[in-house]
Symmetry: C2
Subunit: 729 residues, 2 copies
């Protein structure tokens, strides 16, 4: 069995950035990078907030980092000891990902003896606004200690600074920092109170953007001096009374104390694991990697809201602007659908509630219906820039087409809503805007359909498919298939209106000429061009793909002139070759395996697999899932592990051109989960019935997990012989 | 009046390349760059041949340069004197462009005295295979001279060498070099014979790729020693008997002598000028520049053939692969139509005879009909590369879309054929393949038409218009309008079949379902989307143009990071701005001024003029012509002069990315002619009647010229008061 803990001994400054992701704690309201208490902005410290954004000047709009209430540094005998400046004698960081506890322990050798600091922190799963830390200091001599701890308002930003002004305040024994954002004047309020168990001299200073308590004392050898910090984080978007509530929460926590709060937090986590833990008998590495991935998904689930989604890099910082991508619907959703459907609904409600933004985006391009944001922020605002990559050779922004041509995004929303409905039969999601969303997405695709005057099919031209290395292509198979699916789902919705509550049905019927739309969408579905396998069984990814240069990924690497150069775009090394960034046809076949006989699935897997760079963390799991579908769990396994270890190894792509794209990879985590459950576990829902046809990798003896289906919890025990499914009572 | 001569005194090595263009002589069969006799390939010497091409390895297919039969160097007292190595005391080159005679005179100071060489050369207008030179040497002391003259087979190539082997032969007093081309094994045979009027020691050597006669003698002070060379150039494509005919021609010429041949040549040129000279009273600079431009057009007119066209850089070398562009039909054709319609027919017959190549090209892209080559070589082979520009920052070829998306090329062929027919009423051109060509071009555009499933119009997407800086645009106004024109002309042709000779009419009716095509083309013409003026009267160049950054040409220049970087492509400085390379909407309005009221023409001129870089020599004349149409001859004038002096100043663009594009600019020459005659002269043909409504620039008192209309020659005398048109008897 696994010990639910990752740790690292010794200090390596090169890992400051990647450990910030790997040791992250979060509770869906905020994510706290796994950085040390004494770190400042140059070490990528972040208390990254969900769902609140700001834009300054010409910079990209991005999520906010709150002032850091964990900030703590020590002086020993008037000398400052801090990483990475002061080499430690011993150093350990660890993450208990069962209980979501970050801890560190560092010992420095000073001229007079050794000093050790330890800390433990968690973002409370029972109280979304609460961040808590215990910090202890111990010396083996009579050390003269000055401990400074408080709130650091000098936050790390990629496109900041976002706070036009910061108020640094002492109030009733608490300290707080209130920042006012540039664009909308939102307030972010971080309030801190603390307990400590020793006598000392105290002082309070404001030093630039930091407000700090100073504790001066002399240690007795071997005695631990402990301070516990209770930090509340609120914004004016949460409540107009944010300041008052923040203070009240801290006051209450001071009363309750660290142990009690930790206990509450751990219990909440145990509740989560009691449903979501996946047990893999025979492969501890896989079990650890997978559950560690699920830890990350749990840590960023927006349980405090009814309408909020998860950014592509979770809550690990401002990478990708803190924006929501198709990652959520296509890769993360299944985990929540299976283990916590309420969160799945929250994620989808975010899309439903941003329908107006999607309609505005469609209108801005002259299209009808709903064109969802490629990089969605609040209100559905598309944060994606037309110039999303920087040319390493000229330093110029490159015109990219993620925003305006990656039209498959809208179909991902439809897929998410319908998958939620299929697995829960909770039609409230359709009645509460889901039906309208699906119809608007269908209208969007309908307005894009082109027909050659002397042709028969309807086509979609000038798009970017999942494989972003090939821009502006015609008839991307995945996109066309998803558009067809969208038309089909819209027809299905219209056909099922009689089953809606009368008000919801009337709303739709008042709003749309449903008979006319049904006719149009049916016609579109039956005429849209869907590329078919050629005589080798291979489906062409887009018109003309087969004519491109057939070359290996390795050869392309050898053609690079600059390690950070972008492979896509008009002239990238991959652009005019068959090498693709990520699963594209394979994603289609994974979603719709019934479109073709199994030998066609296999032929396409075999064809595209060696031509895929996997430059996206979304890629591996699609190859893994289709491999399972084709009866090749042994070929799926390395792709599964690649997905499951994306954040554990921290070796993912850090750069797209000159843009930093590091952070956590929740879509890979979700993909690993899907591979385990749907792929190896072989879970499916045939005619509303839960089935499992396992395909375990060679080393796995048993795969056990629970899933929720139609509101009931089931235990699935999958072995090489088959699966046993039992309802949990 | 002008003196019909350009000259340059003093020697400037920096001008070797540009003077090669400026002092070019040619006769349509070959062009001889204005280089000196002692120059070798590094000085861009070329005897460039019309209509014969070769490809070696991965290089571009390009026209051939023949071995250089003019090659001559001297030694004086055993010391070599040659430019650019030996600084001259005096130096003069000149071109008598009335008589098409190149001459040079150079004096060197040697330790014992001065030596002067003079030469005169012409490419015979009466005998296309003949190149003739007189070379004299004179010293003011008893100079010990060794003159070496012969044939230099070590030719300049851009993508060569093209001769797999060279035979260097002495035969019956003549010398010859026969090269065998790499791709097809064509033979190029240069034969030389000479006369001389002095006694000397003679010798013959073969030195690498050169075969040279050596003449050694001692000069008497003040006496000229003259050698005349008769060089024939033949290829195996001309005749299987090329070797014999070449020899025979040289033998005959030796008999006839230089003076006689020169007299024949000059008489032919006088014949040309008797029709084509344009007299501008009041502006010698303009008259000189214009007639110098016409000299270039005459020099490259393929009078020796019935089916041959003119490359975009004339016969000035291998730039642009020696290929034929739309330049010929849209910019050069009018000059020949007005002054020598037989040449116009020859140019168009080349396109008609390459219809199969155009059909093959269309088929290769999955289109119907005829898609003419963007860079046409023999048989209609498209020499255009998919990678036609080199990225200056990476040295990598850039994917360009001239070949596959500049679909307006086919309409230029239709326009040329119909213009020939309209001005000559010679329907043989239609009967001899022109009708079929037009129908195939209409079929081509028909197969490209797209209709939005929920739209009404037919659209053309993903094209490149005349403004090549904006790639892959939808509904380029010029392209759509020319497609409509093509549909209209095809319908007109079908309607006029009864007037064809019965055999030609039957051929068309057998070949095509003409009633069905007529219906389709009429429908296409009435539904194709033609952008209309907005409320400011401006026609959007293509969908979305108005949303681009509005910035000045100067600002773009300031953004350049490299002087040779390409402005277009996906990321060029112009690509996402309103700055355009060349007249685009303005070209449309120049061709179809009746599409809109005059104020719309003017508003578009005013809008696009400051946004045009004029990065193409095709641009200025369109602005000049439309300015005349709008009653602004003073605004037309600088654009006219820019066109007319394109080769005189030699300041045109020399580079597109890292690709050399220097050479002569016959399209600019043709554009200058059109501006003079159609613009300032105001010539038009209303209902088949020749009219002239002059709009003279302020400084012009009178503009006089002759033009041929419906087979008759007319004299036009245009003044500010109006025009007098008289038939010449």
């Amino acid at each position: 069995m696994i010990n639910w803990k990752i740790e690292e001994t010794g200090f390596n400054a090169d890992k400051i950035a990647s450990n910030g992701n790997k040791y992250l704690v979060g509770n869906g309201y905020m994510g706290i990078r796994g950085t040390l208490e004494e770190y400042e902005k140059e070490h990528l410290v972040a208390v990254n907030l969900a769902g609140i954004y700001d834009k300054v000047g010409d910079g990209w709009r991005e999520s906010l980092n709150a002032p850091n209430g964990l900030y703590t540094v020590i002086r020993v005998d008037e000398e400052e000891y801090r990483l990475p400046n002061s080499d430690p004698l011993e150093h350990l960081v660890s993450l208990d990902y069962r209980r979501a506890l970050f801890s560190r322990k560092t010992t420095w050798k000073t001229p007079r003896g050794k000093v050790t600091v330890e800390s433990e922190r968690f973002a409370s799963l029972s109280e979304p606004h609460l961040l808590t830390m215990k910090y202890t200091i111990k010396a083996d001599f009579h050390a003269d200690i000055e401990l400074r701890t408080g709130i650091d308002g000098d936050v790390w930003d990629i496109n900041g600074p976002h706070y036009d002004n910061l108020s640094l305040i002492e109030d009733d024994g608490l300290i707080k920092v209130i920042g006012t954002t540039h664009e909308k004047g939102d307030k972010v309020c971080v309030t801190e109170g603390c307990n400590y168990n020793f006598t000392c001299e105290k002082n309070l200073t404001v030093d630039g953007k930091r407000i700090l308590r100073h504790f001066s004392f002399i240690t007795k050898p071997g005695i631990s001096y402990e301070i516990t910090k209770f930090i509340s984080v609120y914004t004016s978007v949460d409540t107009p009374d944010f300041e008052k509530e923040a203070k009240q929460l801290v006051k209450e926590c001071i009363e309750k104390g660290y142990a009690f709060l930790k206990d509450q937090h751990v219990k909440k986590w145990e509740e989560k694991w009691s449903v979501s833990e996946v047990v893999i008998d025979g492969d501890d590495d896989a079990m650890e990697a997978l559950n560690y991935s699920l830890y990350h998904l749990h840590s960023i689930a927006p349980r405090h809201s009814e309408s909020l989604s998860i950014p592509a890099r979770g809550l690990s910082g401002q990478t990708y602007k803190g924006a929501v991508f198709w990652d959520t619907e296509m890769f993360m959703l299944d985990f929540f659908l299976y283990t916590e459907p309420r969160v799945a609904k929250t994620l989808l409600k975010y899309r439903i509630d941003t329908l107006n933004g999607a309609k505005e985006k469609a209108r801005s391009y002259g299209y009808d219906g709903a064109f969802y944001a490629w990089e969605s922020q609040e209100g559905g605002f598309d944060a994606c820039s037309d110039y999303n990559v920087v040319d390493v050779f000229t330093g110029r922004p490159m015109r990219t087409y993620f925003k305006d041509k990656q039209i498959h995004i809208s179909s991902a929303i439809v897929h998410g809503i319908m998958r939620y409905f299929e697995l829960t039969q909770d039609k409230s999601i359709l009645e509460e805007g889901g039906a309208e969303t699906i119809i608007e997405c269908a209208k969007f695709y309908y307005s894009l359909l082109l027909k050659k005057v002397n042709g028969q099919f309807y086509e979609l031209h000038d798009v970017v498919g999942p494989d972003e290395y090939h821009e502006r292509v015609n008839n991307n198979g995945y996109t066309n298939r998803m558009a067809k699916y969208t038309f089909d789902m819209a027809v299905k919705i219209i056909d099922s209106l009689d089953g809606f509550n009368p008000e919801a049905a009337k709303h739709i019927r008042d709003m749309y000429p449903v008979d006319d739309l049904k006719k149009k969408f049916s016609d579109a579905s039956s005429h849209i061009y869907i590329p078919q396998p050629d005589k080798e069984g291979v489906i062409e990814q887009f018109d003309g793909y087969k004519k491109l240069e057939d070359v290996s990924v390795e050869t392309l690497k050898s053609r690079l002139l600059h390690e950070k150069e972008y492979w896509g775009g008009a002239y990238g090394v991959a652009a005019h070759t068959k090498v693709i960034k990520q699963a594209d046809v394979v994603t289609w076949l994974t979603l719709f395996p019934e479109d073709f006989p199994e030998d066609i699935l296999l032929k396409n897997w075999n064809y595209y697999e060696p031509r895929t760079e996997h430059g996206s963390s979304l890629s591996a799991c699609m190859y893994a899932l289709l491999a399972c579908r084709c009866g090749m769990p042994e070929k799926a396994y390395p792709y599964f592990m690649k997905s499951a270890t994306a954040d554990l190894t921290g070796t993912g792509k850090q750069w797209a051109g000159l843009i930093y794209i590091g952070g956590t990879h929740p879509a890979a985590a979700g993909g690993a989960y899907m591979t385990a459950i749907n792929g190896f576990g072989g879970v499916s829902f045939e005619n509303g019935e839960l089935k499992a046809k396992p395909q375990l990798p060679p080393s796995w003896n048993k795969l056990s997990f629970k899933i929720i289906h139609l509101g009931k919890l089931y235990q699935v025990e999958a072995t090489k012989e088959g699966a046993v499914i039992k309802e949990c009572k």
